[in-house]
């Protein structure tokens, strides 16, 4: 039983090691900043700008991470878990988008007023839940911190009546900064390695 646990721990650590490059953080931070800029300037181009880097995730991983720490392919179950987290996130964001575009009429006037006042807090809670889920499933512990960050920033922002764009952008900037710091640390710790050859 204890050996079983050790192997699971090893698997988690390996998964964490593969994501120590900060690339996920940089992309998430960028997305949140894009969302904040969209709120500031009311321009959907910023929203597109925020989501655009997702397309570069795999190429960047291959260009930056793989030459340094090597390539690893995890079992399909890990990919399914990660895919489910991403899918849940997309469904939530899309659901909220559709709801705010067309749905509020089905709610009572009081509920509509509440949503109008606290929709960002609700968004913060949903984002926090997504991060919590992702952290629990992937074992990447800093995602717990991001969940707490979203909850804190969005609660404080709503409570203190700070302009939403400010605390949304600040949240994004913080995650972006963590990502960049991790990337710099990763690049220093793992200089480019030559590919090995077993039969050389």
């Amino acid at each position: 039983m204890s050996q079983e646990l050790d192997f699971k721990k090893l698997q988690r650590k390996t998964y964490q090691a593969y994501h120590q490059d900060g690339l996920i953080d940089i992309i998430i931070g960028w997305m949140v900043i894009g969302f904040g800029l969209n709120m500031t300037f009311d321009n959907a181009a910023f929203l597109f700008m925020g989501w655009f880097p997702i397309l570069f995730y795999v190429p960047l991983k291959n260009r930056i991470t793989v030459p340094r720490t090597g390539y690893v392919k995890f079992h399909a179950s890990n990919k399914i878990v990660f895919g489910l987290v991403i899918a849940a996130l997309l469904v939530l964001v899309l659901g909220m988008f559709i709801f705010f575009i067309s749905g509020p009429e089905i709610l009572s006037a009081g509920m509509q007023a509440w949503l109008k006042q606290y929709y960002l807090l609700l968004l913060g809670v949903i984002a926090a839940l997504c991060f919590l889920g992702a952290a629990a499933l992937t074992g990447i512990s800093r995602l717990y911190a991001y969940a707490l960050l979203f909850l804190t920033m969005f609660t404080l922002g709503t409570w203190l009546k700070i302009p939403p764009a400010i605390y949304v952008i600040l949240t994004g900037v913080f995650i972006e900064a963590v990502g960049i710091w991790m990337m710099v640390r990763f690049l220093r710790r793992y200089p480019l390695a030559e590919q090995g050859n077993v039969h050389e």
Partner: protein, 110 residues
């Protein structure tokens, strides 16, 4: 004679431990390969902390035993040595863990 037979029987679980996997360096390699679908040479080197030469020698032994499958491919014109456990290798590490569990249980139980 019968007492000797009996003591050998008692030690049988230790004899069942696969010496090829039991060596720490190869055990590390097998452990990492058992938790992933496949990995390249650099990844194994980083994770196990083995030197290039040491890893290469031990991988060759595991390949000769039929526990790992080593393939070479080019990604963006860069060579990549991809290593994965074979079905025999997965079975071997599973059996090794079970045997070790038995031995440890016997030792701790006595």
């Amino acid at each position: 004679m019968s007492e000797l037979d009996s003591s050998q029987e008692e030690l049988q679980p230790i004899s069942d431990i696969d010496p090829l996997i039991h060596a720490p360096t190869r055990l590390k390699i097998m452990a990492y390969l058992s938790i992933v679908e496949s990995a390249d040479f650099t990844f194994l080197m980083r994770q196990t902390g083995l030197t290039r030469g040491n890893l290469s020698v031990n991988l060759r032994k595991l390949e000769q035993a039929g526990y790992v499958n080593i393939t070479k491919e080019f990604v963006d014109r860069i060579p990549r040595t991809l290593i994965r456990l074979t079905e025999d290798g997965r079975q071997a590490i599973q059996t090794y863990r079970e045997n070790m569990q038995t031995v440890l249980n016997d030792l701790l139980g006595s």
